[in-house]
């Protein structure tokens, strides 16, 4: 089954939101990325055909945005923020912990294919740094023990209760 057939309903829903088809490009690339963990060349070609774009038009767009993976990443893709605000409160230490615990550096993948690491710029959680994003979830105010628990949780259950919910910081003080 092709990519377009597999997600037929979702794709037509996305297309209905925009008066100009090309606007659906980024949302469709997200669907493709969700399917395989990265965006395959065949998916890009199918999307190009659907939106009446040339394959280079799709490629020039996808390569501009850092959130699209053009090659496979780990089942859990860890992105640690290293911008100034997180760096002030210890993001470099977090990167070192991950390097030691998982034995991978930025841009690398563990041999079991579970974890990959990227070091990224600001993720808008500056007040609750150091922080990281794993797949779709934020993990904030990291400490070494918290990181250990997150990694253990992910290995065993595939998710961790330590991920951030709807953001609010500081939390309201009870009066």
């Amino acid at each position: 089954m092709t990519f377009l057939e597999k997600y037929k309903d979702e794709i037509s829903d996305i297309l209905s939101r925009y008066p100009v088809m090309r606007s659906a490009l980024i949302p469709l690339l997200y669907v493709a990325q969700r399917d395989q963990g990265y965006v395959t060349e065949s998916a890009m070609q199918e999307i190009a055909h659907l939106l009446r774009l040339t394959p280079p038009q799709v490629y020039e767009t996808i390569t501009f945005y850092t959130m699209f993976n053009l090659k496979p990443v780990g089942k859990f893709h860890i992105q640690v923020c290293k911008s100034l605000m997180c760096a002030l409160v210890g993001s470099d230490t977090v990167i070192e912990w991950i390097k030691t615990k998982l034995g991978i550096g930025p841009g690398e993948l563990t041999t079991d294919g579970l974890f990959s690491l990227s070091v990224v710029e600001c993720l808008a959680a500056c007040g609750t740094g150091p922080m990281m994003q794993i797949n779709e979830d934020y993990y904030e105010q990291l400490t070494e023990s918290k990181l250990d628990r997150i990694l253990t949780d992910l290995r065993s259950t595939g998710t961790s209760p330590l991920k951030s919910g709807p953001f609010m910081w500081p939390e309201p003080v009870k009066t």
Binding site: Y65, M67, L123, D137, M168
Partner: protein, 434 residues
């Protein structure tokens, strides 16, 4: 604890407030919309917003009502509203809280803005990383659609407004309004040359308004309580209302604090954010996100409003206040921000694309104690030739950290270079002077 009345954060500070439609309606939510649609003329809504003095909360601080007024009045055809939720200025995390904790407040603002400018379609361009935020917004839109606040014939007024969430994909520059429009059109997020401005040639070349999340969230309150009430808050006449300041860095209680504009940095940092996290004194702070020049302890009594911060040599920007304690290397801090800008330069304009890479290399060399005195000249020369010579304001932003740290802490650069010269290490050949 708050000494001032909260406006935007008021609901979410209530214990047990979930941000659902029921909760929002209980606090008087969507009353502004009920009292406006079909009862106040769209032009009058614009006049109210103009009178309130509301200025954009995204960074540039442009008066919102004036921006709306730029749309062509006699234009037949679609117009668009884009809610800029691409919050990616380092040091800023207020929009995330506004969207995830009280999404209907933002949505009500969006529908009001659409009504004022005559738009039937609004896109919320949310940064791609905020998956949770986009899900919360989608859910809230669903609730509002069922309740008749969004969609066709809203509250029986004959007004149609559709709101869609569009996720970005990780590019800082897409917070710049024309780059946002390019990205929304499914292209690379390269800023457009202005003029023409989005007000006449925006999304799909149609009249378009781009407003920040916090700006839009203010609208229901302005409509309900009147422009005079809003204009009296803060430091009128030019900086009215409250700001949600995002305090980060070396403070005891970092986080979002909503205070009236015109509060001093000292009050914000020492009373709200609990002061410095250790016994080390404050060394430097950034008042408005990574693009704003650094300021020193001598500026602690500067009032946080557009004019006073600008007069002190920085800018209020997005309201991200980052505090650094004594012992933080300013060269290192400027280098970290420079690395950010180098990574995020979109590559459209040569001064910014080539200049950012040159600046980062020179800064890395100085910080690694491999610099030479001429490097300081090179840095300033580069900064001078980037700022003001690019299509968007990114060029001005990226030179701010280096220029301001060099202005206030030049000795730190000199010390690193002196160490390099004393060690007499083998250095690469100097870059040829232009």
């Amino acid at each position: 604890m708050p000494k001032h009345e909260l406006i935007l954060l008021k609901n979410m500070m209530q214990p047990g407030y979930t941000g659902s439609l029921t909760d929002y309606e209980k606090t008087g939510g969507y009353q502004a919309l009920r009292n406006t649609l079909g009862k106040i003329a769209p032009a009058d809504v614009t006049a109210i917003v103009r009178k309130s003095g509301l200025r954009g909360r995204g960074g540039a601080g442009f008066p919102t009502g004036v921006k709306w007024g730029f749309l062509p009045k006699d234009y037949q055809g679609p117009r668009y509203l884009c809610c800029n939720a691409d919050e990616s200025e380092p040091g800023t995390f207020k929009d995330r809280q506004l969207m995830e904790r009280d999404p209907h407040q933002v949505l009500e603002g969006i529908v009001l803005a659409c009504y004022a400018i005559g738009s039937e379609t609004a896109y919320i361009y949310i940064r791609g990383e905020m998956v949770l935020g986009s899900k919360i917004l989608e859910q809230a839109i669903g609730e509002a659609r069922v309740a008749g606040y969004i969609g066709k014939n809203i509250l029986g007024s004959g007004i149609n407004v559709d709101v869609w969430v569009h996720r970005g994909a990780g590019a800082y520059i897409c917070g710049e309004e024309t780059a946002l429009l390019e990205s929304l059109e499914g292209k690379r997020g390269l800023p457009r040359i202005k003029p023409p401005f989005p007000a006449t040639h925006g999304l799909y070349n149609k009249p378009t308004v781009v407003n920040n999340v916090e700006t839009l969230a203010n609208l229901p309150h302005i409509i309900t309580r009147g422009p005079e009430w809003f204009a009296a808050i803060g430091s009128p006449p030019k900086s009215t209302g409250t700001r949600v300041f995002c305090v980060s860095g070396h403070v005891k209680r970092p986080g979002n604090y909503e205070v009236p504009m015109g509060m001093t940095v000292r009050e914000l940092v020492y009373e709200y954010a609990g002061g410095m996290r250790s016994d080390k004194p404050l060394k430097a702070f950034i008042p408005g996100g990574a693009s704003a020049p650094f300021l020193t302890p001598a500026h602690l009594d500067v009032k946080l409003d557009f004019e006073h911060v600008a007069a002190a040599g920085s800018m209020l920007g997005s309201g991200g206040v980052t505090v650094m304690e004594e012992g933080t290397s300013m060269v290192w801090a400027a280098l970290r921000l420079m690395e950010f800008f180098y990574h995020e330069s979109c590559g459209k304009c040569s001064p910014c694309r080539e200049g950012s890479s040159w600046l980062v290399q020179t800064m890395r060399r100085i910080f690694a104690k491999r610099g030479r005195m001429e490097d300081l000249e090179t840095l300033l020369d580069l900064c001078k030739n980037i700022a003001g010579r690019t299509v968007c304001a990114f060029g001005d932003a990226e030179v701010a950290p280096i220029q301001s740290t060099m202005k206030h802490w030049r000795q730190e650069y000199v010390d690193l270079i002196n160490e390099a010269e004393a060690a007499n290490l083998i250095r690469p050949e100097p870059v040829a002077r232009r």
